[in-house]
């Protein structure tokens, strides 16, 4: 049974491997910790912006999976550092012998699986985010005037604070505000002719104006903010609506939020890729160290040359062995199986 990817490891290279593995493990712990913090930060940001993301959009899955994956990576790093430290000391290694095998399997399966899932989610995020934000911001804009409706009364405050903090206006631009009614009916004078005209001028009976809320105002503008009658060039002296101006924030909140969240997700994706690489290296190193020391029978300082390998035999052979062992357990007649195997094996060295 030929081992897969064997590597001869005499004493000095074994010690070097253990020391290098110890360094790599602490690096993995550091990177895992940073990824943990990064995914926590993204989770907090998504929670804050929860009102502007459609509830059907499962965006929070990415940071949660990333949290789990980075926790597993952290654990792998700690195990790796402990095991590599112990492998240099004959007294400390025996307790690790039994534990290392299952831990390696858990680390590879759990950690690897979670990391691949998280990376996949990070790549798929922009699409889901786009649709989620589109829907969420549209709802928020429509609910802006409903400051008296329970369940929607916070929409005005949250949207104003969003526009003030992220320096944006409307969904894709300030003209989005012209298409919805953002003034509550409670503050409209039913006796005012202008109000009646506006309500009657459209099919849905909405009070539409060419004005924007105060939170769209840009403090960099040299003149006091112009919020109303924005399409009328004669309403304000020295104001030309065709000119790009500093009066209002130029960007829409959709683009700003998308860019902000995508930036965070791409940083997280990069960190997850680095964690994946480091974790693979640490797991490989641990496996080689474990098999080399098993070959020596657990004796650390053995001067003999041990062989480290990934798997004791190829995949086909491993499956055969597992199948045969299962057969041995069921039927007490093991003589037919091994002799059947011997002739083909002996045939190979001759050839």
């Amino acid at each position: 049974m030929a081992p897969v990817l064997p590597l001869v490891l005499p004493l000095q290279p074994r010690i070097r491997l253990a020391q290098g593995l110890w360094l790599l493990s602490w690096l993995l712990v550091l990177v895992g910790g940073l990824t943990l913090l990064c995914s926590g930060h993204l989770l907090v940001q998504l929670w804050h912006l929860g009102t502007f993301l459609a509830p059907s959009c499962p965006v929070a899955v990415l940071p949660q999976v990333a949290l789990a994956a980075s926790a597993v990576a952290l654990g792998t790093g700690l195990v790796g550092s402990g095991a590599s430290r112990a492998s240099l000391d004959a007294a400390q290694y025996p307790p690790w012998r039994g534990v290392l095998g299952p831990l390696l399997v858990a680390g590879t399966a759990g950690g690897g699986g979670l990391l691949v899932l998280a990376l996949g989610l990070a790549l798929a995020l922009p699409g889901t985010l786009d649709t989620g934000l589109e829907e969420g911001l549209g709802t928020a804009l429509a609910n802006y005037k409903d400051t008296e409706v329970p369940g929607r009364c916070q929409a005005k405050r949250l949207l104003d604070e969003l526009q003030l903090k992220h320096h944006c206006c409307g969904r894709h631009g300030y003209k989005d505000w012209f298409g919805i009614q953002w003034v509550s009916n409670r503050y409209l004078d039913p006796n005012d002719q202008d109000v009646v005209d506006r309500i009657q001028s459209n099919v849905e009976g909405l009070y539409l104006i060419d004005g924007v809320p105060f939170s769209c105002c840009n403090p960099h503008s040299p003149r006091p903010c112009l919020q109303s009658q924005l399409s009328d060039p004669h309403a304000h002296p020295l104001f030309d609506p065709q000119q790009p101006n500093l009066n209002l924030w130029a960007q829409g909140c959709h683009e700003v939020l998308l860019g902000h969240l995508q930036g965070l997700a791409s940083i997280l994706g990069n960190m997850l890729a680095v964690t994946f690489l480091l974790q693979t290296l640490v797991l490989l190193g641990l496996r080689y160290l474990q098999t080399a020391l098993e070959g020596l029978g657990g004796v650390i300082d053995g001067e003999g040359e041990a062989q480290g390998y990934l798997f004791p035999a190829g995949l086909k052979d491993m499956l055969k062995t597992a199948w045969l062992q299962g057969g041995v357990a069921r039927r007490p007649a093991p003589e037919e199986a091994p002799p059947g195997e011997e002739p083909p094996k002996e045939g190979l060295p001759e050839a």
Binding site: T147, E148, C153, K156, R157, D160, E161, L164, W182, V183, S184, R186, Y187, L188, D189, D192, P213, F214, S215, C217, P219, H220, P222, R223, P224, C225, Q227, H236, P237, L238
Partner: protein, 346 residues
Amino acid sequence: MALLKVKFDQKKRVKLAQGLWLMNWLSVLAGIIIFGLGLFLKIELRKRSDMMDNSESHFVPNSLIGMGVLSCVFNSLAGKICYDALDPAKYAKWKPWLKPYLAVCVLFNIVLFLVALCCFLLRGSLESTLAHGLKNGMKFYRDTDTPGRCFMKKTIDMLQIEFKCCGNNGFRDWFEIQWISNRYLDFSSKEVKDRIKSNVDGRYLVDGVPFSCCNPNSPRPCIQYQLTNNSAHYSYDHQTEELNLWARGCRAALLSYYSNLMNSVGAVTLLVWLFEVTITIGLRYLHTALEGVANPEDPECKSEGWLLEKSIPETWKAFLESVKKLGKGNQVEAEGVDAGQAPEAG
């Protein structure tokens, strides 16, 4: 009759030295923290120096920075001394320096305590600086074309949005100054001409505020102009309307922010001061215990450590005597010179 005598045997001395070594290195960390806090405070004051007419006093952050650096230096030196204290050969070279070093430490502790007190007392001077600075800042709000002042509008708007405040003491401060630049006023309009004629200085005063005073918590869209005219807006009463604009003045908002900051920094500095006092006392005990070792060849012997060799009144008397002797010493010398000259003359 020594003050607070404590008996030391070899083991206790070693433990004291080791404990002091650890505490000194922790104290170096504390010194770095104080340095960081001083730097942070300085940056925060610099950020809003426009609101304070660039005349704010940087005494507290500068002294915190200085104290942090000094603390690092003194405590690493003390750590080295404690490390060497266990080896009689190495300790011998530090012996003559220890008494003046302890005196310097006591002085340092007194100054640190005074700096911590100053953190709590700065609030008073900051209040007057802020009131003055904000008033001037608001006056320059409209000068967006004047080089050197064109940023004032942006600064005040960002300040009012960030600190959730309006004006100096309240939003009515904006009624008393012209905050709209002449460049954007239509001088052919009758309304503008009336307003300018209505006051002595020829300023365009409105009962309105900039947009940055608006409170997002208000259920209705923000009312910025004609604030005192109830009939200008539907269902509006300016006497009872509370949520439309920010109620707090920016002076109070900034003052409370800086007070909280200084109080926390002051509390941390006091804690560090207590730590330093403990270290100084420990160092004094180590010094006197090692001095009291009767036989330098036998390190196992017991010794006594104390804070002061005699009780406080006796120590104070001895200190005064030594000061008088210093004065008398000069007198005796002068008399000696005169006496020497007199026989020569005679």
